[in-house]
């Protein structure tokens, strides 16, 4: 194991780590006190910008840059939305933060709101996290009592209210505009952009949507400095001027077929194999790994040789995956059928597609129907090409949908079939020995009663 000292998770082992007393005893809220006393909001934004902090929610958009999209001199209100609707399969790092160190998150929220001049913040919490709900609410109450929230925080001019909002368990509410719609009390159908939330978001006011882990990182950047943050991780690619690099610590979620699943903090850029072997104790039961999901199911698949890919924002893309996503690594051992994996993935996205855009609504359902048929022993080789066509043509990358859910649905299909095509073909030939090569549908003509 490397010499890396956990930061985001540093307090989590302490007893009662979720209380204000423990958090303050380890230096908590000092960064906030200093920022409010000594720094202007613009200086906070500059610090976050200088740190090249990238959003931890999945897309990896630079946080400081996002904040600068807010209109200058807006009369307000400006809203801060904290995305805690952590529903990407395999992901649970926000839960660790909210349950075991909620004050680190809240300090980040206050700092981010201070920087963006937001006066109201909403935490959109996943429905399935009752303990997070309890701990966050208790922490908010403590903050109000201690003058860290409410009117004139710490005697300054700055006021902030934070509301905890529980979602109703829909994956699409994690999409930032879907979250905003849901928060407004509407059906969570992602909005068309432009206008982007920074211009017209919640209640048609400028809005910033940040992930829980992102704001926790803001706390650490303001506490430990930009230099510290940039000393961790992977610098930007000098050959790619648009690469902002992958700096800072990251909470990796490791699950699936490993000996020690869990949430681990590591510098951005460790390889998948390091994570599995050094943190997770290797693949379980002495088996070999077959594949791994690099960052939540929507990011696609690593094959075993691709385990050496660094898990930073640029790494997974180099081997055909969508990106780092939520850095939730799910390990599949050699016994797993890729057909079953893909079926499970398609079932999830068919169930969670919001149903707004035709290609995603119908494409995810069609893909699942084909997977169901393949598993029922009636698959045809042609189905694989159809699945690939669906995978290649849905999502915001080809431009056929409004939000990225469809890209997430497409990547497991594309990766699984392209990287494990032989297995799929064998499966279809084995289970449907007489019909696998049928290319045209043969429809039985119904006998029309009384036809003449």
């Amino acid at each position: 194991m490397s010499s890396f000292e956990p930061v985001l998770m540093a307090n989590m082992a302490l007893p009662d780590s979720h209380t204000l007393r423990v958090y303050e005893s380890t230096g908590g809220y000092q960064a906030l006190r200093r920022a409010i006393k000594e720094l202007t909001p613009v200086q906070v934004i500059d610090a976050v910008k200088a740190s090249n902090l990238r959003g931890r929610g999945g897309a990896g958009f630079p946080t400081g840059l996002k904040w600068t999209f807010l209109p200058k001199d807006h009369p307000g209100p400006i809203y801060m939305c904290i995305n805690a609707d952590e529903s990407e399969p395999g992901t649970f790092n926000n839960r660790y933060l909210m349950e075991l160190d909620p004050h680190q998150v809240i300090e980040g929220i206050i700092l981010s709101s201070y920087a963006t001049r937001a006066t109201t913040a909403y935490i959109y919490l996943r429905y399935e996290y009752p303990l997070s709900w309890k701990r966050l609410q208790a922490a908010l109450d403590e903050c109000y009592a201690a003058g860290l929230l409410g009117k004139n925080i710490l005697g300054s001019e700055f006021s902030l209210d934070v509301y905890l909002h529980k979602g109703a368990a829909a994956y699409i509410c994690g999409e930032e505009t879907g979250l905003i719609e849901s928060l407004e009390g509407k059906r969570a159908w992602p909005r068309i952009k432009p206008p982007f939330p920074a211009i017209e978001g919640l209640f048609r006011k400028p809005t910033v949507v940040n992930n829980i882990e992102t704001v926790a990182c803001v706390t650490q950047i303001m506490a430990r400095g930009v230099e510290w943050f940039k000393s961790i991780g992977v610098p930007s690619d000098p050959n790619n001027p648009r690469d902002p690099g992958s700096y800072g610590p990251k909470l990796y979620c490791l699950s699936g077929h490993v000996n020690n699943p869990g949430c681990y903090e590591a510098p951005l850029g460790i390889t998948c194999r390091q994570l599995i072997d050094e943190y997770g104790g290797g693949v379980w039961k002495g088996r070999k790994g077959k594949a791994a999901i690099p960052g939540g199911i929507s990011m696609g698949l690593f094959t075993e040789p691709e385990f050496d890919t660094p898990l930073d924002f640029a790494g997974p893309g180099k081997v055909g995956c969508l990106g780092l996503g939520t850095a939730a690594v799910v390990v599949l051992d050699e016994t797993v059928s890729m057909v079953d994996f893909l079926h499970n993935s398609c079932r999830f996205f068919q169930h969670e597609s919001c149903g707004q855009c035709t290609p995603c609504r119908e494409g995810t359902a069609w893909a699942l129907a084909m997977l169901n048929r393949i598993r029922a022993g009636k698959g045809r080789l042609r189905d694989l090409d159809l699945l690939l066509e669906i995978g290649d043509t849905i999502g915001i990358i080809p431009g056929t949908t409004i939000c990225g859910l469809a890209d997430g649905a497409a990547w497991p299909i594309k990766n699984a079939i392209r990287k494990f095509r032989g297995e799929f073909e064998d499966y279809i030939k084995r289970t449907n020995p007489h019909g696998y090569a049928v290319t045209e549908p043969v429809l039985a003509l119904p006998v029309l009663a009384g036809a003449h």
Partner: protein, 565 residues
């Protein structure tokens, strides 16, 4: 001023025009297929049928940079330098895929679907779809569910464009319709106990690009390809919505709104939409009759022979051929007037067209140069109902009060109302009257009709039996709104011209034609020629001298000019 490029063709757009890709492409005749976009509703860009390639042309170098992905044309503003490519392989393939996607769950029951023939799913599939069905997966289902009294939903035909949902939220602002469930299980529905029940409900059927929402009034009545569309004007109230009258063999099957940005935008109300039935009512009068001269009676209208039920029996009347009417009618009126000046009155119904009202007034003045000209009763039912995003349904349930009142004012030199006319009759100065009706609801009661007792000749033109009808010397069955041609002036001084959509039932005669004939004019009744005459004679109508566009013309334009000169 800006230049937008569509498929290599440059199009000029105005500085303040805010067009999207679909609208700008239409200017060069390129139709970008779309389901969810509608000019009267918010943009959701969710059907993904209108995906095109776009780019921008740099103003200085002229270099075109294309976006690497498809974008919805409905959501892309057409600004100076915007480039649209609507016919590339990428675009065409994606259209075919969307069509394929939409048909995965569709029952494809076109043979029994009312929408067949005017269905965008059919049209686009023919134009952009693929011949093979690759998604041979699910058994088709076909479920039907009631949305309200006027609209029914064929659940599985729906393509989830949400036009109807947006309509009830944004235009009628009643929000009855919603999307239930999620993803591919989505369906349109209403809340339990809150059916689709508003005065604009029928518009959701027009909005539906496929056969999902059906109009219960029209359901299974007629195949759309048998019907002919005629531009018309709704006669239900003084709003005067532009409509399309759809008929087959002289039977009207439905009315549809016709786009008119000045009046009804894209919509019409249910009162108007379903308010055409009276023209096919079995109670309509379809035989012209003349009262038999009662022996010894000096006044024809005074003493109707009472039958058992209080009315006069048909036996008091004899049918008369239309060919005999002109001479008999004129002779009867002349005899009643007896050369006395001011003894004839003509009551111009607000259901007449401007041309008909003018001709009737002319006719009356030909017979009696001092003839009294008055406006017929103006039916007012209930109160105005305002839909700020659409139009106001007026309580004044006639289409042409403004136009007829202007004609009356011209001839009479003042506003002679129905009450003025009744008062005039009380004085005994009148010997004969010509009353035009055309009302769809009972409009005159027995006591009022009894006040006509002093007349020697009474001509009544109407659609239905009434107390006055039973006192007439001549009963002349008139025309319904779809049978007339001419012009109406709506509440806001907008004059719209229209032609007839159906012929009146045998035995009824369109008022205008009769007046034309009685005035001894040659050839067929020509409302346009009459309108020219009116425009030259009555300053209020002067602007109608020019051809009247489909959306009508605002007569006040002329008035404003008149005040400044």
């Amino acid at each position: 001023m800006g230049i937008v490029i569509v498929d290599g063709q440059e199009i000029e757009v105005g500085e303040h025009e805010r067009l999207n890709g679909i609208q700008v492409a239409r200017r060069i005749g390129v139709e970008i297929p779309h389901y969810c976009w509608h000019p009267g509703l918010s943009v959701v860009a969710s059907c993904r049928m209108c995906l095109v390639e776009t780019g921008t042309r740099a103003p200085d170098t002229g270099k075109i940079t294309m976006l690497p992905k498809l974008v919805p044309a409905c959501q892309t503003p057409a600004k100076d330098g915007t480039v649209f490519v609507t016919n590339s392989k990428l675009v065409q393939d994606q259209r075919a895929r969307v069509e394929e996607d939409l048909l995965i769950d569709h029952p494809i029951d076109c043979p029994i679907c009312d929408k067949a023939g005017e269905c965008l799913l059919q049209d686009y599939h023919f134009e952009h779809g693929q011949s093979e069905r690759r998604a041979d997966l699910r058994p088709f289902t076909s479920r039907r569910r009631e949305m309200g009294d006027t609209v029914t939903l064929f659940v599985d035909r729906c393509v989830m464009c949400t036009r109807c949902v947006r309509f009830t939220r944004e235009v009628s602002q009643t929000s009855e319709l919603l999307v239930i469930h999620r993803g591919s299980h989505e369906e349109i529905d209403v809340f339990p106990g809150y059916p689709l029940d508003n005065k604009l409900s029928g518009n959701v059927v027009d909005l539906c690009p496929v056969g999902a929402l059906g109009d219960k009034d029209f359901l299974y009545k007629q195949r759309v390809w048998f019907m002919k569309q005629h531009d018309g004007v709704c006669a239900g109230c003084s709003t005067g919505c532009s409509i399309s009258i759809e008929e087959n063999q002289d039977a009207v099957y439905r009315l549809k709104p016709r786009e008119n940005p000045f009046i009804n935008k894209w919509w019409m109300c249910d009162d108007g939409r379903y308010g055409y039935k009276h023209i096919h009512s079995p109670d309509r009068q379809i035989e012209p009759r003349r009262r038999r001269a009662a022996a010894g009676a000096t006044t024809t209208a005074s003493v109707p022979t009472a039958s058992a039920n209080g009315g006069i029996s048909v036996a008091d009347y004899a049918n008369i051929e239309w060919s005999e009417i002109p001479s008999a009618l004129l002779a009867s009126l002349r005899a009643a007037i007896g050369g006395q000046s001011g003894a004839l009155a003509a009551v111009l119904s607000p259901h007449l067209t401007v041309e008909e009202a003018y001709l009737l007034a002319k006719l009356a003045r030909t017979l009696d140069p001092q003839a009294y000209i008055a406006l017929g009763p103006v039916p007012v039912i209930g109160q105005d109902e305002s839909y700020p995003q659409a139009f106001t349904i007026h309580a004044e349930k006639c289409p042409n009060r403004m136009g007829v009142a202007a004609v009356v004012a011209h001839f009479a030199g003042g506003h002679h109302t129905w009450d003025d006319f009744l008062a005039r009759m009380e004085t005994g100065a009148l010997k004969a009257a010509w009353v035009s009706g055309g009302y769809r609801t009972p409009w005159i009661d027995e006591p009022t009709a009894a006040r006509f007792a002093g007349l020697q000749a009474l001509v009544v033109q109407d659609l239905f039996d009434s107390p006055l009808w039973r006192r007439a010397t001549f009963q002349l069955p008139g025309a319904g709104f779809a049978e007339r041609s001419g012009s109406y002036v709506n509440f806001a001084h907008r004059l719209q011209s229209f032609g007839w959509a159906i012929r009146p039932p045998a035995g009824a005669q369109v008022e205008g034609r009769l007046f034309w004939q009685l005035l001894g004019r040659r050839g067929l009744y020509d409302p346009r020629a009459v309108l020219n005459e009116i425009a030259g004679e009555i300053p209020y109508f002067a602007v109608a001298m020019d051809p009247v566009p489909k959306v009508g013309v605002d007569l006040r334009i002329n008035q404003l000019a008149g005040t400044t000169s």
